[in-house]
């Protein structure tokens, strides 16, 4: 006989009530765990994906959409900007570097991004096999793309217009895969990278052939080997890194007022997004805490009621040599055991839900959520479980401590 065995037997004596209490608490805990996992991972993703990008410049529209589309690749482009204008901006004295992005096509709903090598460098991408794209229509694909589409090096495919599966196919031009990237935990895992010219080539109407001129005199700064004065060329956006802090104040205002383009700051827009999400998360949190409170109340009532049935047990235990302190401990441990079981089941349930979510969600939207990380907040949940267990068993434990053995055992 041990304290643990004794408590276990008492819990086992009322299986339904014990299960209900554990289940109720675990429900609240799992919601809290879920929020912690999603919130943390979302923030990590946002920070890691927006790293090194101070400003996104694109066509006028919603700034949030601009960020979502060009950094996280989840929303649609706001439109196009002229390469000439983008080039001019890239030469601005406050711009340290500018990366062009040309979006609009996809393969199996994975996005094809026309850009240059700097874009891959932004996320410290490394090749798993093959080579980086070098010629037109060559692509290097992210690890999730390769896994989900079974594309291998040397395979060719036709892209489809738009960012969904049912866009019309560009049958005339075929891409060829030259390399596959290592997992980076960033958006690159879900992208197919090529050069900007390939995107243009695919979109050229076959009936109006308009060769992309090689202009060595007026080379575009962003896309070398392309004429920088061709006013028909367009790209989707520019990812800009500032030269100095001065740019934070002046550059966005300059772009928004002096050009036809729009500048959006990832830091500012994601903060705004989090404020919007925050309200929903707070409501969910409130619900979770309510669940925890109700389950604590339920555990308290269960312990309190069981004391009436157990008053002879307690008195007998005293007659067998148990001190009042021992009885106090016994009830406290029972309460803590219940809440700790609830917390553990809740944590497992929370992680399991993320696992389900990560597996069921469409691969192209797979933003890399994982159920196998643990955050320090979860330690706080465990400690919280201890505190809740102690609090809801305190009053019953005090009553057990005060058991009047003589009265109970002589009682008629």
């Amino acid at each position: 006989m041990t304290t643990r065995l004794l408590i276990w037997n008492y819990l086992k004596e009322k299986p339904l009530q014990t299960l209900l209490n554990i289940f109720l608490l675990s429900l609240g805990i799992s919601v809290i765990t879920l929020i912690i996992l999603f919130n943390n991972q979302l923030q990590e993703k946002i920070i890691s994906n927006a790293r090194g990008i101070d400003l996104v410049v694109g066509a006028k529209g919603s700034p949030l959409q601009l960020i979502l589309c060009n950094i996280f690749h989840i929303d649609f482009p706001t439109g196009n900007i002229k390469l000439i204008e983008a080039d001019r901006l890239a030469k601005h004295r406050l711009v340290k570097s500018a990366i062009p992005l040309a979006l609009g096509d996809s393969y199996n709903s994975f996005r094809i991004v026309g850009t240059n090598k700097s874009y891959a460098n932004l996320y410290q991408a490394t090749l798993n096999s093959g080579a980086w794209w070098s010629k037109d229509l060559e692509v290097t694909v992210g690890v999730n793309v390769a896994k989900s589409t079974n594309l291998k090096i040397g395979d060719s495919f036709t892209s489809s217009h738009g960012l969904t599966k049912d866009g019309h196919a560009h049958e005339e031009k075929k891409y060829i895969i030259t390399g596959i990237l290592n997992p980076s935990g960033s958006v690159l895992d879900n992208l197919l990278l090529t050069n900007v010219k390939s995107i243009w080539l695919v979109h050229e109407e076959s009936n109006t052939p308009q060769p992309i001129a090689n202009d060595t005199v007026h080379q575009s700064r962003l896309i070398p080997s392309v004429s920088g004065i061709d006013s028909t060329r367009e790209i989707t956006s520019l990812l800009i890194k500032y030269k100095n802090p001065m740019a934070i104040i002046t550059l966005p205002r300059f772009i928004n007022t002096q050009t036809n383009m729009q500048a959006a700051s990832p830091a500012f827009e994601t903060a705004r997004l989090f404020t919007i999400l925050g309200e929903g998360i707070d409501a969910l949190k409130g619900l979770a805490y309510l669940l925890v409170f109700i389950s604590a109340l339920s555990i308290f009532i269960a312990l309190y009621n069981s004391l009436k049935e157990r008053k002879y047990d307690l008195a007998i235990m005293r007659s067998m040599g148990a001190s009042p302190r021992k009885l106090f401990q016994l009830i406290i441990f029972e309460g803590i055991s219940l809440t700790m079981l609830g917390v553990l089941v809740g944590l497992i349930l929370g992680h399991f839900t993320v696992l389900l979510f990560a597996n069921f969600i469409d691969n192209s939207q797979h933003v890399g959520f994982t159920s196998l990380v643990f955050y320090k907040e979860e330690v706080f949940i465990l400690l919280g479980g201890l505190v809740v267990g102690f609090l809801c068993s305190l009053l019953p434990a005090i009553q057990a401590y005060r058991t009047d053995i003589h009265k109970v055992l002589a009682g008629n």
Partner: protein
């Protein structure tokens, strides 16, 4: 082994006339089984609880095996009681959440003694309950339950067994069986038996009798 002199107990009550209950002086030698007779309300249970340390006498002499019980601290008294005194109550008060074996093991566990499964087997065999070792308490018959309660009282080989009305709810046959059983376990474990009852059927069984 048991010496009692000038012992009294006062109930703490709001009523103004809380008269102290004065208990008779007596001494018991080792294995000198004794009957404590008295009508209902004469204070038998209170006396038994004072002797067993469940209640504290505010004055008088209470000595068990050369230890003065009312001088011990609360935790020392609890420990001493668990180790040296076994209780048998009118009702069994077995713990329903536990099996027969665990009910017995609870006694050494709570008194801080070594938990010996062989001892459990030995005691249950003596009482003819070896087949019920792993049974739940709720599966036992009334008589079996009482035998388990007696087994629990003697598992720690107490020097003193205090029994409060162990037979008053039983018919003549079972009354005889129960008291025989108490005598035999007391003999086997070298315990002294002190039985408080108003049950006149036990009068002739005991040599030593104290009237309250």
């Amino acid at each position: 082994m048991l010496k009692i002199a000038n012992l009294s107990y006062t109930y703490q009550s709001k009523a103004q006339n809380s008269v102290p209950i004065r208990f008779p002086d007596f001494q018991l030698a080792d294995r000198e089984h004794c009957l404590l007779l008295g009508n209902s309300g004469s204070g038998k249970t209170t006396f038994l609880h004072v002797i067993g340390g469940l209640l504290r006498a505010e004055q008088g002499w209470l000595e068990l095996n050369e230890v003065q019980l009312n001088q011990l601290s609360q935790s020392a008294l609890d420990h001493y009681r668990g180790k040296h005194i076994g209780f048998v109550f009118q009702k069994n008060h077995l713990i329903k959440a536990l099996t027969v074996k665990d009910n017995l093991l609870l006694s050494p566990f709570l008194s801080g003694e070594k938990q010996n499964e062989e001892r459990v087997e030995e005691v249950l065999t003596d009482l003819g309950l070896e087949s019920k070792m792993n049974a739940r308490v709720t599966e036992l018959s009334q008589g079996q339950a009482q035998r388990v309660a007696i087994a629990r009282a003697i598992i720690n080989k107490p020097t003193l067994i205090l029994a409060d009305e162990p037979t008053s709810a039983l018919d003549d046959l079972n009354c005889k069986r129960a008291i025989d059983l108490l005598f035999s376990v007391a003999a086997k474990n070298n315990s002294t038996l002190l039985v408080a009852t108003h049950d006149q059927r036990l009068k002739d069984v005991f040599k030593r009798k104290i009237q309250l």
